[in-house]
């Protein structure tokens, strides 16, 4: 066998694929063939590298050269220069935003320096459609170890000792969950992987499934062995076609090798996995709703108890874990509970994957040890706020979470500190906002989402959230009263206390946290009819300064609703009743005569 001297890794995640990374891979292969190098250089489509801001990413190994924003037509130059002549293609290298220097080696990029990749260990490194590459990186060794060396109780013990907590939102200790499920006896039990990932903007679970599907299969088998389940189900949203495809390929290959099926590793343990597709409802990520949806019933939650561990899928004991929770399992078995629990904080062990989004320089997928501060994430990994603007808030926990401010930047993040600060870990969405974000509008955005996604089964969530939304809308229209602010608070508390499931119990969090942290901004909207971020259109007024206006008529000619009147060569005026605040006039005025008041 001739060994490939160089490996070219091309990101094949959903994001980079949308920017034609499969075409890039094909062009690289074609150009290699032209040069007769197809047996010396291997091109591999991998999962996500995380640095989505600058995708598509192409990485050359073993020298770790990291090319960003690559286009299909760059393939020729990469082969001719880098591969044939050994010269890096400087224009495609990542440029450090501060030093303006090109950084060739990804190990030296600020984005990666503070990261610790455990759940994402194989993403962007192996070919997810080739089980052998997973095996080359210790894949299925943890399962072998469990089946041949450990009893189910010992496996549960390791997970308990590791301190791993669920990554799907609530942070329940995984080992304890497994223990409860293992103690409920039944002729059939189920282990379920929750790959619903309904938080807006979140793509952690999708990236793991696209980049390292075998790690989830192996972990589910380990979990199945631990609790005594022979059947695994992955509940995955149908909008994730690439993740579904990679999972299907991985399951097929695992079956061919006998890593799924009967008598795995010569033991008496049988295990297999099936996929179940979700239609993309947020509430179906809630475990009881998820189970009902898998049973072909309406995706509505039911009261707990009974917990799924007692009576879940088809009324059998069922253990539900999140994708990222599973991704941590094999490596904990291999490296041990002590290794895992040495990472992180007192009560939150290991790492957490976040989807970093919003007004930040390095948008992407990151994995950091628990205990990293928001400041480190935003300024070191995230490269700071876009366009040199000022940081205002960071939203974590999605629709169930809250907005944190400047004063929280040095909080060492883990489940408990985020909760104490009025937000939550959630599944790992992190949206960074600058001064151009209006916090009332942000709260309204999340409530709009919850109203849309509420299943309607319980009254507090169905009607309460709608009322919250209406009050917020009134405030953004400049029609709110101070009494409305009190009502927001009170109603929020009632919904939290009385809603049936986690959706309603957490949906007022975006409202409460913005009221607590941005009280002045709410008051400004109510009392001064002012939106300091310039977002609430109803509170804005476009005015023409008659001393600066030369009467060129550009604004009047371009106004889509003919709201601007005036004689040529004399000052113009905006009819406020007709104005729709689209901003066209400001754009067209060459004299800076128009401003927002």
């Amino acid at each position: 066998m001739t060994k490939f001297k160089t490996h070219i890794l091309v990101c094949g995640g959903t994001g980079c694929t949308a920017s034609l990374s499969d075409k890039i891979a094909k062009n690289l292969k074609d150009n290699l063939a032209d040069k007769g190098l197809e047996n010396e250089v291997q091109v591999i489509l991998t999962g996500c590298f995380g640095f989505c801001e600058k995708g598509p990413i192409v990485k050359i190994m073993p020298d770790n050269t990291f090319y960003t924003e690559v286009k299909p037509e760059d393939a020729k130059e990469i082969i001719e220069e880098h591969i044939v002549k050994g010269r890096k293609v400087t224009r495609l290298l990542y440029t450090d935003p501060e030093t303006k220097e090109h950084i060739a080696d990804s190990k030296h990029m600020g984005f990666y320096k503070k990261q610790l990749r455990i759940a994402l260990r194989n993403c962007g490194f192996i070919d997810p459609e080739n089980i052998e590459e997973y095996i080359a990186n210790d894949g299925y060794e943890a399962l072998a170890k469990c089946l041949t060396e450990y009893t189910p109780e010992q496996v549960i013990d390791i997970i308990k000792k590791s301190g791993l907590r669920g990554r799907g939102g609530a942070g329940f200790p995984t080992g304890i969950k497994w223990e409860i499920a293992s103690k409920n006896h039944a002729d059939q039990k189920y282990i379920v992987c929750n790959a619903d990932e309904g938080d807006p903007g979140a793509f952690m679970d999708r990236s793991i499934l696209e980049g390292d599907p075998n790690s989830i299969i192996e972990a589910m088998a380990i979990g199945g062995y631990a609790i005594g389940a022979t059947k695994g189900l992955v509940y995955i949203r149908a909008e994730y076609p690439l993740a579904i495809h990679r999972l299907e390929v991985a399951i097929k290959q695992a079956r061919e090798y006998g890593l799924l099926g009967k008598n795995i590793f010569g033991s008496t343990f049988d295990f297999d996995i099936e996929l179940r597709y979700g239609a993309g409802a947020f509430v179906c990520g809630e475990e009881t709703a998820l189970i009902h949806s898998m049973e072909g019933k309406r995706g509505e939650p039911t009261f707990k108890p009974p917990f799924p561990a007692q009576s879940g899928y088809l009324e059998k004991p069922t253990n539900v874990n999140n994708v990222e929770t599973f991704a941590n399992i094999p490596i904990i078995i291999l490296k041990g509970a002590d290794w895992f629990s040495s990472i992180g904080t007192e009560k939150s062990k290991g790492t957490k994957v976040f989807a970093l989004a919003g007004q930040i320089n390095n948008v992407g997928l990151i994995e950091i040890p628990m205990g990293t501060t928001l400041r480190e994430i935003i300024y070191e990994i995230g490269g700071g706020i876009k366009n040199g603007r000022k940081f205002k808030a960071v939203q974590t926990g999605g629709p169930s979470g809250g907005c944190l401010t400047e004063k929280h930047l040095d909080v060492a993040i883990d489940y408990d500190s985020l909760m104490a600060a009025g937000s939550m870990m959630g599944s790992g969405g992190m949206v960074v906002m600058d001064e151009t974000s209006c916090m009332v509008s942000i709260a309204k955005f999340y409530l709009d989402f919850t109203v849309e996604e509420s299943c309607g089964k319980c009254t507090p969530c169905r009607i309460g959230n709608k009322r919250l939304y209406e009050i917020l809308d009134k405030i953004t229209q400049g029609k709110g009263t101070m009494e409305d602010l009190d009502n927001l608070r009170n109603l929020s508390k009632v919904i939290k206390d009385t809603a049936l499931c986690g959706l309603g119990q957490t949906s007022p969090n975006p409202v409460l946290s913005t009221i607590d942290n941005f009280w002045d901004e709410y008051v400004e909207h109510v009392q001064e009819h002012k939106c300091r971020a310039g977002v609430c259109k109803a509170l804005m007024k476009y005015v023409i300064d008659p001393n600066v206006c030369v009467g060129c008529t550009a604004c009047a000619r371009n106004c889509p609703v003919n709201a601007i009147k005036g004689e040529r060569k004399s000052a113009h005026e905006i009819n406020q009743d007709a104005c729709i605040k689209c901003g066209t006039c400001i754009e067209k005025c060459k004299f800076g005569a128009i401003s927002i008041k």
């Binding site: 073993p62 020298d63 002549k85 050994g86 590459e133 095996i135 072998a144 090798y257 890593l259 590793f265």
Partner: protein, 113 residues
């Protein structure tokens, strides 16, 4: 496809798969020594490619944990290739000129202790 029925089966498959990925895995490991061969036009004309292959084969045969990569011009205005750079640790590196197989063996020997 042969079924995997024991840990030994898995490890046998792992060994083969690991070898195929060797280049990538070494590149991903921090702190390995590096051998960089200048492979610009002049270097290639002077036989840098053969030396590059030789380094790879020998490192493999001897089971040396080293990253072998190609690079551009190491020494400006050098018309007497083949030029090779050896970095035992990051930062510190030695440059060798006119490297042939014999000299390559000497460089590889330096990695053995």
């Amino acid at each position: 496809m042969a079924q995997i029925k024991t840990l030994a089966d898995l490890q046998a498959l792992k060994k083969v798969a690991h070898e195929k990925m060797d280049t990538r895995i070494k590149g991903n490991t921090s702190g390995l020594p590096q051998i960089r061969i200048a492979m610009a036009t002049v270097g290639i004309a002077a036989g840098a490619k053969e030396i590059f292959d030789y380094f790879l084969e020998q490192a493999d045969a001897e089971g040396l944990n080293v990253v072998v990569t190609q690079t551009g011009v190491i020494k400006d205005g050098n018309c007497q290739p083949v030029v090779v750079e050896l970095a035992l640790t990051e930062g510190e590196c030695q440059v060798f000129e006119n490297v042939d197989k014999k000299k390559a063996d000497e460089i590889l020997d330096m990695l053995k202790h």
